[in-house]
Amino acid sequence: MERIPILRMGEFLLVTIQVDMHDQLALTLQDDLAERISRTSARGVLIDISALDMVDSFIGRMINTISGLSKVMDAETVVVGMQPAVAITLVELGLYLPGVSTALNVERGMERLRERLDAQ
């Protein structure tokens, strides 16, 4: 089965979404991430969506779910690299991502996660 790879970087997990995901692939990623967070006790998840040229309600919901799920599992999620056109479209679509942190790029996202962990 087709899968989106999850990379481990120390205490964080990094997911780079590079394909135009069909719905099942997004759902599989959600499940895989939950399983990996639990198995590795990761403290943070970075989801790099800089290659995504659109985020619709389904992918938006997946991002929301991953973020909520990781919180329950004591990990933080940061979504990085959202293209400006995608951000504008999401707002107009009416999809707000409450509780989802975002950062401009992976480096900044990583900093954000470290700050969060240090503050705890």
Binding site: D20, Q24, D53, M54, D56, S57, F58, R61, T89
Partner: protein, 134 residues
């Protein structure tokens, strides 16, 4: 208004939703839509294609490159012969879903495009037409 080019694309599976997005993107670029408008149209197409698959039991996306004076636009029609929508007004309410969605697809799509029309009859099917101009 002179139709320049038309075509049709099956929308029957999740993979077809991805294909519909890709076709919409290619045509939007050809129509000279700027990046933000391309993205809006592609996102709208994704929402409607998914509805066609999930609720409509599959259908088709017809596309047409339209011209009006010096303006170019892309018109997409999503049609299916599924159960139809009993209460169109309700379906067009932000946040209303009969399934597991967010109920954003139809209302959000209307905000993303320049023209939007929804025709549906129970037992006959659903037809959603959208258009975006450059």
């Amino acid at each position: 208004m002179r139709p320049e080019r038309t075509g049709s694309q099956p929308v029957r599976s999740e993979q077809d939703v991805v294909l519909a997005r890709q076709v919409a993107r290619k045509l939007a670029v050809e129509c000279g839509l700027r990046l933000v408008d391309q993205t809006k149209l592609v996102t709208a197409a994704s929402e409607l294609a998914r509805n066609t698959v999930i609720y409509g039991g599959g259908g088709d996306m017809d596309w047409e490159v339209v011209e009006e004076g010096s303006r170019k636009g892309l018109r997409l029609v999503f049609r299916d012969e599924g159960p139809g929508i009993a209460d169109v007004k309700l379906a067009m309410t932000d946040g209303w879903t009969s399934g597991n969605g967010l109920g954003l697809g139809l209302t959000g799509t209307r905000r993303l495009v320049d023209e939007f029309s929804l025709e549906s009859a129970p037992g006959v099917g659903t037809r959603v037409t959208i258009c975006k101009w450059n």
